[in-house]
């Protein structure tokens, strides 16, 4: 059992170490705040991609969170004849939907009618990836909350909706938040659906209706490109992406620990 765990830890250390060694040395203020340099020129940065990724994932979360958690509450707290099972089943199917297929979906749903690539299409595809993950983890969390807690609350005359919001959700909050982090971190690094939606953009853009650069697509372009300098930039961008993910999860854990101490 310990061996199993050490396999995972080994790969974590290997990957983090590799990215750190290859990426950290290239990071400087210019890299974080400047626009990408033209192909072949050294210097330049990834500022537009950083902002782009952040904007797209925030809009996606605003769409995915209420749907995922709300649907999970509906499935678990209002058992219905078939509807709940159908939703849960569909969510399982949707987790299996490959990111690239989600990209095709967003392409057909948003890009085609709008007549061009847009960051909003990227948000739609990220949200589509996040919803089933949030829904399933939330459902698993809610179904493991003992019924006696619900009954105790209901017996005090507290209405059902307040029981759910005030008792069931807080009890399961740890697992809920784990699920949400998983969904966001999975979406944030996903380059595949961005290829035909947000597409990428070498310039500044804060308009969600226009193509926008994201960090993962930038890494893909640079890593598979022919220039040695691009490879170094890809490693540096990977390092930045990793740090963002790491800080997010550390902050979340700190928040969780503070809450459980109260």
């Amino acid at each position: 059992m310990l061996c199993c765990l050490s396999v995972s830890v080994f790969f974590l250390v290997a990957i983090l170490g590799y990215v750190l060694v290859n990426g950290a040395s290239y990071i400087n203020w210019e890299f974080l705040t400047a626009l990408p340099a033209p192909a072949g020129e050294s210097g330049g940065g990834i500022a537009n991609a950083l902002v782009g990724s952040l904007l797209i994932v925030i809009v996606a979360s605003l769409m995915a969170l209420p749907i995922g958690i709300g649907a999970a509450i509906f499935i678990n707290e209002f058992p219905s004849h078939g509807t709940g099972h159908t939703i849960r089943f569909l969510a399982e199917v949707l987790t299996g939907v490959p990111a690239i297929v989600v990209g095709l979906f967003a392409y057909d749903l948003v890009v085609k009618p709008w007549g061009g690539f847009s960051a909003f299409a990227g948000s739609v595809s990220y949200a589509f990836i996040m919803v089933p993950i949030i829904l399933i983890t939330a459902h698993e969390a809610l179904r493991l909350v003992p019924d006696s807690l619900r009954e105790a609350s209901l017996a005090l005359g507290i209405p059902k909706w307040r029981t759910i919001l005030g008792v069931v959700l807080p009890v399961s909050s740890r697992a809920l938040i784990t699920g949400v982090i998983l969904a966001i971190s999975r979406a944030l690094g996903e380059a595949a659906p961005m290829l035909f939606t947000a597409f990428g953009n070498p310039f500044w853009n804060l308009n969600m209706a226009k193509p926008m650069a994201t960090v993962p697509t930038l890494i893909y372009t640079y890593a598979t490109g022919p220039y040695e300098d691009w490879h170094r930039k890809a490693w540096a961008a990977s390092f930045v992406l990793l740090v963002v993910v790491l800080v997010t999860s550390v902050l979340t854990r700190a928040f969780l620990r503070g809450k459980s101490n109260e």
Binding site: I136, P159, T178
Partner: protein, 334 residues
């Protein structure tokens, strides 16, 4: 969880009221809140169904031109030629399935083993410390796995493949172009590494919610710790564990960037573990923006539709298994 739960209204209904006067006014207020909450969550739930329908509709709509042109022959044919405008995709389908299943096969024992270790063989204070690396690994974006695989793993895989071919080349699985490094083996390995943390962290969360009383009861009956885990904890949580594995398989089949970078992107039938072959996802990713006419685009969306279909079948199979396994033991599960 399948039995209907009493609502606030029905719970108070049968009880003799402590107050002499009817409480209808007050109950009405409670019911309005519940009603609104019910309607909101229900419509969010229904929206998930709408999303799924919309997904299928859009894919079929996009692929319609290729479906009309090639029909089901698209699935069994072995020609992909944009120049003569003939498309069919059997080699890619097989390549996807082989990589995905090898990846899951490698990842599941490691993941479940790690989850059991963290949940049952680790003192409580140490658990967060041990889960932390797993959660970090889960948080690493797929594109970074791809880069790491391309620059760090592939050279090692290449040496390993050359050695395998030199010593065991008579075995058909090892009789392929070993010197590339990229190919089925590299693709499967990176998939296994990528899905391990997801399966592990969800399995662990699920195993941790097994009531301690059940395990302690088993231990008090004289069972060893392993017997308690094997006969109580795992059966109790297996629906959730299957959910976790499904999540892993879904990600493995659909994983695009890492497989595009190390799977070797050539349209060819798979003969050995070393062959560089397309996955369906990598084919779409690498060709979609180069597709210059609508039949080409439509064919790529058709590939996406088939990929989607395969994932539905996988989920269906898992659901059936879960249902069969849970049937006789529902008492433990509930």
């Amino acid at each position: 969880m399948s039995e209907p739960q009493a609502t606030a209204g029905s719970l108070t209904h049968g009880l003799p009221s402590a107050e002499p006067r009817p409480v209808s006014a007050r109950r009405q207020v409670i019911n309005v809140g519940d009603r609104v909450f019910y309607i909101i969550t229900r419509s969010l739930g229904i929206f998930v169904i709408v999303l799924a329908v919309l997904l299928v509709w859009n894919l079929v709509d996009g692929a319609w031109e290729a479906i009309r042109q090639f029909g089901l022959g698209f699935i069994v044919g072995t020609t992909w030629d944009p120049v003569t405008r003939v498309f069919s995709t059997l080699p890619t389908i097989i390549g996807t399935l082989v990589k995905g299943f090898i990846g899951v096969f490698l990842a599941v024992p490691i993941s479940i083993g790690s989850a059991i270790f963290i949940a049952f063989y680790t003192p409580k204070w140490l658990r967060p410390v041990l889960s932390y690396p797993i959660e970090l690994l889960a948080g690493i974006p797929s594109i970074i796995f791809g880069m790491w695989a391309l620059f760090a793993m592939v050279p090692i895989v290449r040496v390993f493949q050359i050695w395998l071919k030199a010593n065991f080349g008579w075995f058909f699985l090892f009789d392929g172009p070993a010197v590339y490094g990229v190919g089925v083996l590299a693709g499967s390995l990176i998939l296994a590494i990528m899905i391990t943390p997801i399966i592990t962290s969800i399995s662990k969360e699920i195993l941790l919610t097994v009531p301690r009383a059940q395990i302690e009861g088993m231990l008090a009956l004289g069972a060893t710790k392993w017997e308690a885990i094997w006969q109580v904890a795992l059966p109790y949580s297996r629906i959730g564990l299957f959910g976790a594995v499904m999540l892993g398989l879904g990600r493995a089949l659909g994983e695009t960037m890492a497989v595009t970078m190390v799977g070797g992107n050539s349209f060819a039938m798979i003969h050995s573990l070393f062959d560089p072959v397309h996955s369906m996802a990598s084919q779409i990713a690498s060709e979609f923006t180069e597709a210059t006419y609508s039949l080409y685009v439509s064919s790529l969306i058709y590939v996406g539709l088939i990929l989607f279909g395969i994932t539905i079948l996988t989920s269906l199979l898992a659901q059936l298994l879960i249902w069969r396994m849970a049937k006789g033991k529902l008492a433990i599960l509930e």
